[in-house]
């Protein structure tokens, strides 16, 4: 079943003559890993921001499970779609690393013991336990990236959008992230990966959509990826 859908979407930033995206038609299922690739400025991040309703299309429509994205509040979308920004600084706002990871769960009214358990798990998995009481913006770029991913994953969303998730990660941490995302995908969560990291995309993606100059240049369609074979 189609989870996210863009129909004849055009998007222009204010005071820009050339649209950032033109004539985008794209359907994404609730499961499966789709990579969006393309050169800098091809419109990848803009496309993902349209999907979560942070940006509104100039023309066309974006739908989430058949309903226009405009009909949902950002919080409703956020509870269903986890979004990792390209720049982790933009999404870290708590006073400590532990609070950052548990923020979503705590604000959804989860039991404190459950929140603590989840926080401990994600801090451990992403090797952030030593920084649990540190102010997030004091972390290095790679640590911030891991924290941003951990904070989104801890929210247990149905679908993930990760914009350049491997930036700043060393080979070992990249492998950890890859393993975790594969596990999430095997459990049935869909995801979009925006990345320039070709080896990572090759290992992860079942479908590759290539953007160029604000248009879809190619769409491989969904293919079997051995990584998700039982």
């Amino acid at each position: 079943m189609t989870f996210l859908e863009l129909s004849r979407v055009v998007f222009s930033y204010p005071r820009k003559m050339k649209p950032a995206l033109t004539g985008i038609d794209l359907s994404l299922d609730k499961d499966g890993v789709t990579a969006i690739v393309g050169p800098n400025g091809s419109g990848k991040t803009t496309l993902t921001k349209l999907l979560i309703g942070v940006l509104r299309p100039t023309e066309g429509e974006v739908r989430l499970e058949g309903r226009p994205v405009e009909e949902y509040s950002l919080a409703e979308i956020g509870r269903r779609i986890g979004y990792v920004f390209q720049n982790p600084d933009l999404q870290l706002f708590c006073s400590t690393v532990a609070e950052e990871v548990g923020f979503g769960l705590a604000n959804r009214g989860c039991e404190p013991a459950y929140v603590q358990e989840k926080v401990a798990f994600y801090l451990d998995y992403f090797e952030l336990t030593a920084y649990r009481d540190v102010f997030p913006l004091y972390l290095s770029q790679g640590e911030k990236q891991r924290l941003a991913i951990a904070a989104v994953l801890a929210n247990e969303p149905e679908f993930l959008i990760l914009d350049e998730p491997t930036i700043g990660l060393d080979a070992c941490r990249k492998k950890n992230l890859e393993d975790y995302l594969k596990k999430v995908a095997r459990l049935g969560s869909g995801m979009i990966l925006v990345s320039h990291d070709e080896p990572f995309v090759d290992k992860m993606a079942e479908r590759v959509v290539t953007l160029a100059n604000g248009r879809i240049q190619s769409d491989s369609g969904r293919k079997v990826n051995a990584a998700y074979e039982a």
Binding site: I52, V54, S95
Partner: protein
């Protein structure tokens, strides 16, 4: 109309000073009209002023209500038994506060009609120390950055599933206070990083600075400054005499 940045600074200071002095809605409304007319003269889109004011609408409404209730005097327009709730004086004070914010914001828009380079150059030619001028220019340049950061944080919070509009008022204050802290802290970090980057590029390496360009005040600048300063002083004097 092309004027020197220093002339525009004088205009903005004159308009803001009058806005702070005036306390009746009719005069503040006239001042706002004059400020908007001036912006139009400099080909500034008044819609952009509205864009800047929009985020402060709830604050302005709050101030209007508070001032209306807590500024007694004049005819009682609404009362709860013997306690007057809204008076004509209260409404007048409330409207004045809102109009004052609008005039100060609109006059500050004059600073956006020239570059930060020209701003620094103008102040330095007025013998303001370069470091001080640079500091003020950086502070002005960072204002939109803070606004964007606030928007980013609010978006990020909502994307973690928090319905900000549905948070009860008591908790909302605590939530915004918590969000404000990382923004202020982040700003301090940015300032530290900026200082390091500037020193790395030789900021203050030499005691004397040279400038490629010079700003020159023309006849129109002198006339405009004279007109604005004399008009402001006259209006201020008249206001003091009347009071």
């Amino acid at each position: 109309m092309k004027l020197d940045p220093r002339t525009k600074m004088v205009m903005a200071i004159c308009l803001s000073s009058l806005a702070l002095l005036y306390d009746t809605p009719d005069r503040l409304l006239l001042l706002l009209a004059a400020t908007v007319a001036l912006l139009l003269l400099f080909r500034f889109n008044p819609g952009a002023v509205w864009g800047y004011l929009k985020p402060f609408l709830s604050l302005m409404l709050f101030l209007f209500v508070i001032q209306s209730i807590f500024s007694p005097g004049g005819a009682v327009l609404l009362a709860a038994g013997p306690v007057p709730l809204v008076t004509s004086q209260g409404l007048s004070t409330g409207a004045s506060v809102v109009l004052r914010i609008m005039v100060v914001t609109a006059s500050a828009m004059l600073f956006t009609t020239f570059s930060s380079r020209d701003f620094i150059l103008g102040l330095v030619q007025w013998k303001v120390p370069y470091e001080l001028a640079f500091m003020v220019a950086i502070a002005i340049r960072f204002l939109p950055v803070f606004r964007d950061e606030m928007i980013n944080v609010v978006t990020a919070v909502q994307l973690r599933g928090v319905e900000l509009k549905k948070v009860p008022w008591g908790k909302k204050t605590a939530m915004y206070r918590r969000l404000f802290f990382p923004i202020v802290f982040g700003a301090m970090l940015k300032a530290q990083q900026l200082a390091v980057a500037m020193e790395a590029r030789g900021f203050r390496a030499y005691p004397r600075r040279t400038y490629l360009r010079r700003l020159d005040l023309r006849r129109a600048d002198y006339m405009s400054m004279l007109l604005f300063l004399s008009a402001t002083l006259t209006l201020m004097g008249a206001d003091v005499m009347v009071k």
